[in-house]
């Protein structure tokens, strides 16, 4: 692989986000704890709790995959809910679960915007970021721009099925809860902005899979205002959005939320998404992480990528990536194949 590939790839991504046509379809490798720990053969719990181990493991993945993966504080779903008082459960395989703790409107009213320096895994994220910047080495950028969506955080703290019911039966509780989580996320993003070197807070990436389970009506009433408020608080910052559940029903609403780059799942019909919002939003993803990228042969990966590029690439505005995070145990050859597919079939 050309040593300059990662740099060229970022140039292509930047053009793509601006809806300009690059020389070829760029790729993006979304990796996080499950893939990184399996690749390195280490215990996930240790990885999440030892900044030295985290940076070491991420650097190994980055080196293997041509500098296409990032170095970043990776604390799974723990950060925002723990800062708002949620209890966590870490399982033996290193997955963290949020134990829902919001039972009543009174519980919501008692929530206070946390001080990030002292609150749960927010404080740990700051500490980890500071450590990583020192440890990552010269010329290795450390990203600090990922947050969970206020809607997702609210759902985790209330219970995902429960909050769906609440949208109809207790709408005032939901509205008050997302007000609190939205203010928390905005405060958290301001803190992150103050931590990173001046002028480098260029992008926000919001994780939110749970919006896909509500229809457009509830999305527009309860969730769209969240994004308008969060993104409106950082008008100069690029707006990336991750949602790998089936977001077919809310595509236009997502575009109305001001998202610039949408990391979408494999269940969304890419041609349909391109037709409906491709002129407003750069689309990224769509390669099935489990059935194709993890379990497929390199030949199957190549063919799937070819078809996806066929649907997504026309006119620019498309980045090839897994339709979700790259799953633990995904063979490196398959990831290489996805990168090759962008070069082979993605030329403009």
């Amino acid at each position: 692989m050309d040593k300059e590939f990662a740099i060229k790839n970022w140039e292509r991504i930047n053009k793509t986000i601006r809806h300009e046509e690059p020389d070829q379809v760029p790729v993006f490798l979304h990796v996080n704890g499950p893939f990184i720990t399996k690749y390195n053969g280490i215990d996930p719990y240790q990885y999440y709790h030892d900044p030295a181990l985290m940076v070491e493991c991420q650097l190994k993945v980055r080196e293997r995959f041509y500098n296409l993966t990032g170095v970043f504080p990776d604390l799974s779903m723990a950060v925002e809910p723990s800062a708002l008082g949620a209890k966590l459960k870490w399982t033996a395989d290193g997955t963290v679960w949020i134990i829902p703790h919001i039972k009543t409107l009174e519980d919501v009213e008692q929530l206070e915007i946390p001080n990030p320096e002292a609150a749960g895994y927010m404080a740990r994220a700051i500490h980890t970021y500071r450590y990583m910047r020192k440890a990552a080495g010269e010329g290795v950028p450390v990203s600090f721009n990922n947050v969970h969506s206020p809607w997702g955080v609210a759902a985790l703290m209330r219970g995902t099925s429960q909050i769906m019911e609440d949208l109809i039966l207790q709408p005032s509780l939901v509205k008050r809860l997302v007000e609190k989580t939205t203010d928390t996320i905005i405060h958290w993003l301001h803190k992150i902005k103050s931590e990173v070197p001046q002028g480098t807070f260029q992008r926000i990436l919001v994780w939110d899979d749970l919006s896909s389970f509500v229809g457009p009506k509830h999305f527009r009433e309860f969730i769209l205002p969240i994004y308008q408020k969060v993104f409106g608080s950082f008008p100069e910052t690029e707006r990336w959005y991750h949602n790998d559940a089936n977001a077919t029903s809310i595509l236009e609403a997502l575009a109305d939320a001001g998202i610039e780059c949408f990391h979408l799942g494999y269940e969304v019909n890419l041609s349909d998404a391109k037709r409906r919002i491709g002129d407003r939003v750069c689309l990224m993803g769509n390669v099935a992480p489990l059935t194709v990228l993890r379990n497929g042969t390199p030949r199957e990966v190549m063919e799937a990528c070819r078809m996806i590029i066929d649907k997504g690439a026309a006119g620019g505005g498309f980045i090839l990536a897994a339709g979700g995070y790259i799953d633990e145990g995904t063979p490196a050859e398959n990831i290489d194949t996805m990168i090759e597919a962008a070069e082979k079939y993605g030329k403009y």
Binding site: W97, F213, G329
Partner: protein, 219 residues
């Protein structure tokens, strides 16, 4: 003007929490049997909810509220069910495997299965193998549903099947397995009985199994 059965069906479809209890009571007062209320009003209501959900005409919030209405109606009919005056197509226990706390998929399956006339026992999330064994040992259950979304917990499905075999109750139940992390190949490999691509596929397979079991029993 809708008759009482149609009103009940609509109450389930519309998620009418406020009126379901009184509608069931009126139906009983009018002399409807609990079996008729279930078969002719409530199940068709949940069945329609499942269709609307599959067609993206309603979404999870609406489905969750309809499921709640269905449960309220079933609670009202509980005395008749306890007395054995209500028959269901079959009984299924379902849970999310240990170390997996996702509940949305499981809850969708419960709603769709109830719409298909199958009695559901919800074991919850993060369910250890011994709890699956316990419920099978103490209840007349024909179907067991297991779901997993994370690849990291797939081994826990195998643990459940091993525990069920060890407890000597494997023959009394058919095991249906679903969830994003699951594939048909995996189900075959670990000794499950049916792979369910989604809730509708699960209902189809559950009904096929129950029909086969019934015909086998008759023979």
């Amino acid at each position: 003007m809708l008759n009482i059965m149609e009103q009940l069906t609509q109450a389930v479809i519309k998620g009418d929490i406020a009126h379901i209890d009184s509608l069931v009571q009126v139906s009983l007062d009018l002399g409807m049997s609990a079996q008729d209320i279930l078969d002719r009003a409530l199940i068709p209501g949940m069945d329609e909810v499942g269709h609307l959900f599959s067609a993206s005409q309603i979404f999870l919030p609406e489905m969750m509220v309809s499921a709640k209405v269905m449960h309220m109606a079933l609670n009202k009919l509980r005395p008749y069910i306890v007395r054995g005056e209500v028959r269901r197509l079959g009984r299924m226990a379902i849970g999310t495997v240990k170390d997996d706390l996702h509940d949305i998929g499981k809850n969708i399956v419960i709603s769709v299965m109830e719409g298909g006339g199958i009695e559901m026992i919800d074991l919850g999330v993060d369910v250890p193998p011994e709890k699956f064994v316990e419920v099978l040992s103490n209840n007349d259950i024909q179907l067991l549903g297991v779901s997993a979304i994370l690849t990291t917990v797939l081994h826990n499905i195998e643990n459940i099947i091993s525990a069920i075999k060890k407890a000597g109750v494997r023959d009394k139940v058919k095991i249906l397995i679903g969830g994003v992390a699951v594939s048909s190949g995996l189900v075959e490999k670990i000794g499950g009985d049916a792979y369910c691509k989604d809730a509708a596929d699960g209902l189809r397979k559950a009904k096929e199994i129950l029909m086969t079991l019934k015909s086998t029993t008759k023979d």
